[in-house]
Symmetry: C2
């Protein structure tokens, strides 16, 4: 099934990713319908319709599903019961297995390890005995994380020495957790890859990520990778997508180490580290995702330019007047009224260099 012009794509989540998905959908002649609990979300400005309701409002979920042709999402922590209601009415793409795998850190690591991909050492922790066992096996420093990301933010606690164990466990507030060993890596890259309904796979050139205060700060294309690493990164992403029978765009974060690439985490959606594609490629990650979930052929993943993407976090938006006057700088603001600390307000793609003939890229 491939959707025709005028069809409606339902999007769970009305943040900036939903907003940019809606814009990309409009380029292909599709309408979008946003489902979002909070009022006036960023995506509402550019969507054809908006449902304001909670994920526990099953009547609203059913009406939303009935009003759209296919359902996708901008975030992975969608309650299972809501997915059950939605899936009874319309296809959800990417599929439930991708969601289930990425919603749970242990399920994700088990899945990736099962594919023969390397991940950081990890150990499931439900109580103090588990934690002691994990620390004995992995060693400090390590990090204890809840296995699921809740809506209220994620629980994480660093364990620099065994003495930190008790307070770290207390920070989990009884939630299932996983102890992860530290990985010694030189830098982080991510692969933004897509898989179509026909099983074809297309990956963008990997980008190199720099974080600041735990939030993505910049993504630079091209990343520092050897030709072998670049090829490994793309093959690893393709293996993940194919195994999950995935349809849509996925972000795969990888640590670059002296011994090869280690998977940090996967996100079953368009990804902040893929925003550079808006100004580096004829078909960006948002359109690629829409193409996939609509059953269209994937677009060309080649890039025509080098790009540095910089996130504008909180007060960074005060620099917008200067950035707006820069050469080769493409601004993308999300229409959020209030610039709270840590809040993603927009990003800028600086086209640093044309890549020559895009047919060769």
């Amino acid at each position: 099934m491939s959707l025709d012009t005028g069809a409606t794509i339902g999007i769970l989540g009305g943040g900036q990713l939903g907003r940019m998905l809606a814009v990309a959908a409009s380029r292909l002649g599709f309408r979008t319908h946003i489902f979002e609990p909070s009022a006036n979300p960023p995506a509402a400005d550019v969507a054809h319709a908006v449902t304001t309701a909670g994920y526990d409002d099953h009547a609203a979920l059913r009406a939303f599903a009935a009003a759209v042709d296919v359902i996708t999402y901008e975030f992975e922590n969608i309650p299972t019961a809501a997915l059950d209601v939605l899936e009874a009415e319309r296809p959800i793409r990417p599929n439930r297995r991708a969601l289930a795998t990425s919603q749970d850190r242990i399920a994700e690591k088990d899945f990736l390890s099962g594919l023969g991909l390397r991940v950081a050492p990890y150990h499931a922790v439900n109580d103090a005995a588990d934690l002691a066992e994990g620390l004995a096996r992995i060693g400090a420093p390590a990090i204890l994380k809840t296995t699921r990301l809740g809506y209220d933010g994620k629980g994480q606690a660093r364990i620099m020495a065994d003495a930190d164990a008790d307070s770290a466990l207390a920070a989990m507030r009884g939630a299932p957790a996983v102890l992860e060993g530290f990985v010694s890596f030189s830098h982080e890259v991510s692969v933004i890859a897509a898989r179509g309904l026909d099983g074809s796979v297309s990956a963008y050139d990997p980008g190199e990520n720099v974080h600041r205060d735990g939030i993505l700060h910049t993504t630079t294309i091209p990343a520092r990778l050897t030709p072998g690493q670049r090829s490994d990164a793309v093959l690893m992403a393709a293996k993940i997508l194919n195994t999950l029978d995935y349809v849509g765009v996925m972000g795969v974060e990888l640590f670059v180490t002296a011994d090869g690439l280690i998977v940090n985490e996967i996100a079953p959606r368009v990804h902040n580290s893929g925003h550079w594609t808006q100004n580096g490629c004829a078909v960006d990650q948002f359109e690629q995702h829409i193409r996939a979930v609509a059953g269209w052929p994937l677009g060309d993943g080649g890039r025509h330019s080098d790009v540095v993407m910089e996130n504008l976090i909180g007060d960074d938006v005060l620099r917008v007047p200067d950035i707006a006057a820069e050469r080769n700088a493409a601004l993308h603001l999300y229409g959020k009224a209030e610039a709270r600390p840590g809040r993603k307000m927009g990003h800028v793609n600086r086209v640093t260099r044309g890549a020559g003939d895009p047919r060769r890229s």
Copy 2:
């Protein structure tokens, strides 16, 4: 005055130009409100609000104006009385003089001639005596056109010989008309130029236009122009914008002749021949227009790539599946349900070549 994120830009007209203006506005964090008499226009899919009312509904016009921060438009044939109502409430950009000049073929040609720019020979025609006088002066072949474009399509009649005069005049149905002489030109180019609220001017590299059945078929960048012609084209556009104290994007169509450039017509709005900028530049014509009317600095008008834009007219949309699978092809569909002959359904920008370092372009 420069608008802040979250401000609302009112757009008169809900067609594809309004749709792409709304998308560009969203990139800068603005909301858009569309005023359009017909139901479910293309721009409604991506606008924050839509007013469905006629241009004679002054209460609706006033409410629309009160709900927005600045007013712009996607077409030039807005009734004067409606503009009076709107302008009493909010600034209209580009200004009334630009509209008045481009709404009337004779006013436009008088204005351009007054600037010392060359236009095709023309003669005002209100009756048979005027037409005889015009034909004696200009000679056949020539073309008789109503001076104003009505909502019902434009009246045009070719006069290949004097014997065609009576039927051509009858086709004007009593409307004021202008007789235009034919110009012998090798090709047509257009300059998409912008002027900011601060008086700064930025022009995109001229594109070369090919028409088919009276409708733009392709625009190719770069156009065949000598360096002198390219510079002349941009200077002519800048002269027009400065004289009109213009704010926004204008399309200036030029005939290339052995003796130099002749102005065909000007359009006080984003222009079909500027659609290539969506995939050739960091800042496209739609964003450039929004920046100007919002009082922002103009963006970089440089381009990073060569592009061929092809309009998809009527049944051309049947080729969309093939185009969607092409390399380096960026699709832009307008979400129109019915593919009537002559109807603009979308366009495709084929990125034919990266232009190297955009800082040098």
